[in-house]
Assembly symmetry: C2
Homo-oligomer: 185 residues x 2
């Protein structure tokens, strides 16, 4: 990316030690059962600095499935990146067909701080050079298979270590800043 | 595994944040260039407690390629797990055709503490339930592709967090013990 959008993008996500964010069928009980012991691990503090969540259809539908009456994104704008979701399906969200259109729409809205959630969105944002900060919380388990957090890149992404915290139940949480060669701040 | 061998098995390995131990062509400059700033990160202390290194042919040939006159495993027995390597090729190593034969041979030698090195050997030992302790040192970089550390498993492997240390250059090193249901100590 030569031109940077006027908002920051942060990732805040949990994985197994072998890099999966869910089992192949979407199950995250291996994560949530361990997470119950560990509390929110900084999530509330993280989202307090966020005005917009971006997610894919799969993450959106997972959030819906938490049940009627519980919408976990109150107070944040929710943008869904999906080629399939009906654009008028849910008044709480905006639907965007591609990354360029999403970036334009968020820029026009005056977005300041984006939370990129879900594997597909994280990978798309990383490949596009749009991620500024990455907090990975590693659960103490190997799953062997599942939905991966990371994927192919066109080039290495160098990271700068910011902080590491060990939480209850053996979660290790590390925050990195993405190092950029095109610093244009 | 219902019967456990009379030696412990430890893994001590560096990876990218996306879980690769080398690029697809075997290159580890991305690791060693960052590692130079970080020193040995506990490696000397780790190998001081080891009597036997187990590696695959690829790791063995990489060690050989470090050059004549420099053999990095002085003071340790070296066992190579390979279906192809000539068993008499190198008087410094023993060659084993399969994991069962290796475990038998190491048991007969009175082995106490094994260092399992290289992706193939680590994955084979994990699948066989033979790993006791796992130290993963994560370099602050995403590679996008490469040779993976972890692979498929028959079942989850639950881990117990032991310690986390942040080293220079942003390396995050975490040691886990493998949790076992068949504790037979």
């Amino acid at each position: 990316m030569t031109s940077r959008p006027p908002f920051t993008v942060s990732v805040f996500i949990g994985t197994s030690l072998d890099g999966f964010i869910a089992r192949l069928d979407g199950d995250i009980h291996w994560l949530t059962s361990r997470g119950e012991q560990a509390g929110d691990m900084g999530y509330e503090e993280f989202v307090a600095g966020i005005d917009t969540v971006v997610m894919g259809r799969v993450t959106y539908e997972t959030a819906l499935a938490f049940g009627v009456g519980h919408w976990p994104y109150d107070g944040m704008h929710v943008a869904v990146l999906s080629t399939r979701l009906d654009t008028g399906a849910d008044p709480r969200v905006t639907v965007h067909r591609d990354l360029d259109g999403l970036v334009r729409a968020l820029t026009e809205r005056g977005t300041k701080s984006v939370y990129a959630d879900g594997g597909q969105v994280v990978r798309s944002f990383l490949r596009a050079g749009l991620v500024d900060e990455l907090t990975v919380t590693t659960a103490p388990v190997l799953l062997g298979s599942g939905l991966p957090l990371f994927g192919p890149l066109d080039a290495d992404i160098a990271l700068a270590h910011r902080s590491t915290t060990v939480h209850a139940a053996g979660f290790v949480q590390t925050t990195y800043a993405v190092e950029r060669e095109d610093q244009d701040t």
